[in-house]
Symmetry: C2
Subunit: 330 residues, 2 copies
C-alpha cells in the first residue's frame, strides 16, 4: 500500500528518518547515557527500536507508560519521571515484571511510593521550571526520609525545560549549566549513582547528567527542529483535500488530530489559515483538487500522537508497518 | 464511589447540569428543530439522553460518528455534516442500519457519495466561514448534478461559525441574519425540505434554519458559556495535586488531557500558570496539599473529550455511571 492510499487523517512515520534520528542519538549518547522518554511517541514498537540501538532504560511520564513498557518486555530499567500518589497505580508498577524507579519530591510522594511496594526512587529537584521537583535545599532531607522508609535512593533528577526559551545555542548552554549546577549541589546532598536530566534540546549541552531523558529526538517537533538540527521531523499527518474554494482549500485534519498548544501545524508550500475540529483550511500556492493528499506537520508531536491509535510506518512512501500507539492514557 | 476517589486525570460530567442543559434545549427547539451534533461529546450514552428528550436526528462530523450512532440504535436520521471522498467509509455509512444523509459541496463529493451507495444528501453552502461549503451561486447547479446521479437532495446546510467572533448578542444576531440570507437564497435554488444550520451560539437567533446543529450546549465550553447563559458547563477534569512548592502547586492534568486550541483551562479560585504534557501548574489563593483534588475546566470541550476513553457521570459528587466515549476516531 502507498501512503496516498491510507484512510485519513492518518499518523505517518518515515522509517528512514526515524532510524537516522535513533542512530544519531545512539552515537552521541550511547547505552546508559540516554534514557529515551516514551511520552512523545507512546509506542512500544518504537521503543523496541530504541532498545535495539542500545538504549535499554526508558523514561515515562505516566504509570500506564511504565506498565506498558514492562508488558512489552522492556523491563531493564524504567523511570517514572513524574510524581504520583495513586496507590493503586504505584502498586501495579511495583508488581510489574521490570526494574521500576519513581520520582519523588515530597514526604507525601515518598510515603505513597514506600507504602505501595515501590523499591527505588530518584529525588526530583526543581532546577528552574515551575513544575514538579523539590526545593534544592530540601533534597538531602527527602533522601534521608526515603531511606528511612526503606527506599533505595538511586540519585536525583531535574528537568531544565526552561532552557527551551533560548533559541540561541550559547544562551541555552549557559542556562543548562546554571540549572545543572543546582542539580549537582542537590546530588551531593542526596548521593547515589544517577543524575537524570535533560531533553532533546540539551542532549549535547548537559555535561552534568549521567543520563539524558530525551524524547522528542525520535520523531522531532517542527517547532524545535530548527534549534536542534541533528534530528529531523519524521512524523506527519496524511490528510485529504475535501473541499476547494476560491482562494483556499480544506483538508480533513483538524484539531482532534493535532496537538495545538504550540500553535498551528504547517503544510508544505501552503499557508494554514484556520484549524477547527475536523478541518484544516489552507491557502495553496498552486492548484489543489478534491481528493489530493497533503502532509500536515504538527507543531508539537506529543499531544498529536496521543490522539491516534496507530502510526503507519512508511519507507519511500510505501506503507511497511502499522504500530499501535499502545501507551496512551494514564 | 465519590468523585474524589476517581483515578486522575478523569473526565467528569455532572448529570444534573447536563439534564438541565438537555431539557432547556428541548424546550427551546423541540423535536426536529434541533439535530444535536455529537462531535462535542462523542458518546452514544449521552446521545441516548438527547433522543430521550425528543431529539431523534443527529449531526456528525466523521463517518465513525455516524456508524457508531447507528450501531447504538440511533438510526432515525443521521447527517454527516462534512465532506468526504473516502469510498470505503461512504459505503460503510450507506450500508449501516440508519437513514444517512451526507453533505456535499462539489462534483467530486457528489460523485463519491453516489458511487458508494449513499442515497440522500444536503448541498453544503459556504455562508461566510472559510471552510467547506460551495459558492452559494453554485448550489442549484450542484443540486441538479446530484439529482442527475440519482441522489435525493433533501435541502441545504451552512455553518455560520464566523458569528462567534461577536460576543455581543445583537451583533451576533445581525451576522446570523446575513449568513442565513445567503443560505435562504441557495435553498431557493436547491429545493428540498431541510435548511440545516447553526450551533449553540445561534440556537435562539437563527430564524431561517429548519433545524439547528447544536453540539456544545450539552456540556458547554467555558469559553462560550458567558455568551450563551442558558447553558452551563457540565464537564471538568478531576485532577490530583502531585507537588506543592513555594508560590505554586502542580496537578496531574496536562495538555494530553485537555484541548488547548482555545487556550489554558481554568481552575476554581486559582490562576493557571503553565500547562505541559502531563502537568498543570497553578497559583493557589489558599493552601493546597499533595493529594488534594482540583477541578480543571477546559476552555474547549470537543478536543478535550477526544483524549479520553470514558466519562465518569456524577450526581451530588457521587459517581453514578461510566460512559464510554465510543465515537472517537474517524
Amino acid at each position: 500500500m502507498r501512503v496516498e492510499e491510507l484512510a485519513t487523517p492518518a499518523l505517518v512515520v518515515d522509517r528512514q528518518i526515524l532510524d537516522i534520528n535513533l542512530e544519531t542519538m545512539a552515537r552521541a549518547l550511547p547505552g546508559r547515557r540516554c534514557r529515551p522518554h516514551v511520552k512523545a511517541h507512546k509506542t512500544t514498537a518504537l521503543a523496541q527500536l530504541q532498545a535495539g540501538v542500545g538504549h535499554l532504560g526508558f523514561t515515562a511520564a505516566t504509570p500506564r507508560e511504565v506498565v506498558g513498557l514492562a508488558a512489552a518486555g522492556l523491563h531493564h530499567d524504567l523511570l517514572l519521571a513524574n510524581e504520583t500518589v495513586d496507590a493503586s497505580r504505584l502498586r501495579t508498577m511495583a508488581d510489574c515484571p521490570a526494574r521500576v524507579t519513581v520520582a519523588v519530591d515530597s514526604i507525601e510522594t515518598i510515603g505513597a511510593a514506600a507504602g505501595s511496594g515501590i523499591r527505588e526512587v530518584l529525588i526530583d529537584v526543581n532546577v528552574g521550571l515551575p513544575r514538579c521537583g523539590c526545593d534544592p535545599a530540601d533534597a538531602g532531607r527527602l533522601a534521608d526520609a526515603a531511606r528511612a522508609q526503606g527506599l533505595e535512593v538511586r540519585g536525583v533528577m531535574g528537568y531544565e525545560g526552561q532552557v527551551y526559551l533560548h533559541t540561541d545555542r550559547a544562551d541555552r548552554a549557559a542556562a543548562t549549566d546554571a540549572a545543572m549546577a543546582v542539580l549537582a549541589t542537590a546530588h551531593r546532598a542526596v548521593g547515589g549513582d544517577v543524575v537524570s536530566a535533560g531533553a532533546t534540546g540539551t542532549y549535547d549541552l548537559n555535561s552534568i547528567a549521567t543520563e539524558i531523558q530525551a524524547g522528542s529526538y525520535a520523531l522531532m517537533d517542527q517547532t524545535f527542529a530548527p534549534m536542534i538540527p541533528a534530528f529531523s521531523p519524521a512524523l506527519w499527518i496524511e490528510a485529504t483535500v475535501i473541499s476547494v474554494a476560491r482562494g483556499f482549500a480544506v483538508a480533513d485534519c483538524g484539531l482532534k488530530a493535532l496537538g495545538m498548544d504550540h500553535g498551528n501545524p504547517t503544510v508544505n508550500d501552503a499557508k494554514v489559515l484556520l484549524v477547527s475540529d475536523e478541518h484544516l483550511t489552507f491557502r495553496p500556492d498552486h492548484t489543489r483538487r478534491v481528493g489530493d493528499h497533503i502532509r500536515v506537520w504538527p507543531a508539537h508531536i506529543d499531544p498529536t500522537v496521543a490522539y491516534h491509535d496507530q502510526m503507519h510506518v512508511v519507507a519511500d512512501d510505501e506503507v511497511v508497518d502499522h504500530w499501535a500507539v499502545d501507551l496512551r492514557g494514564w
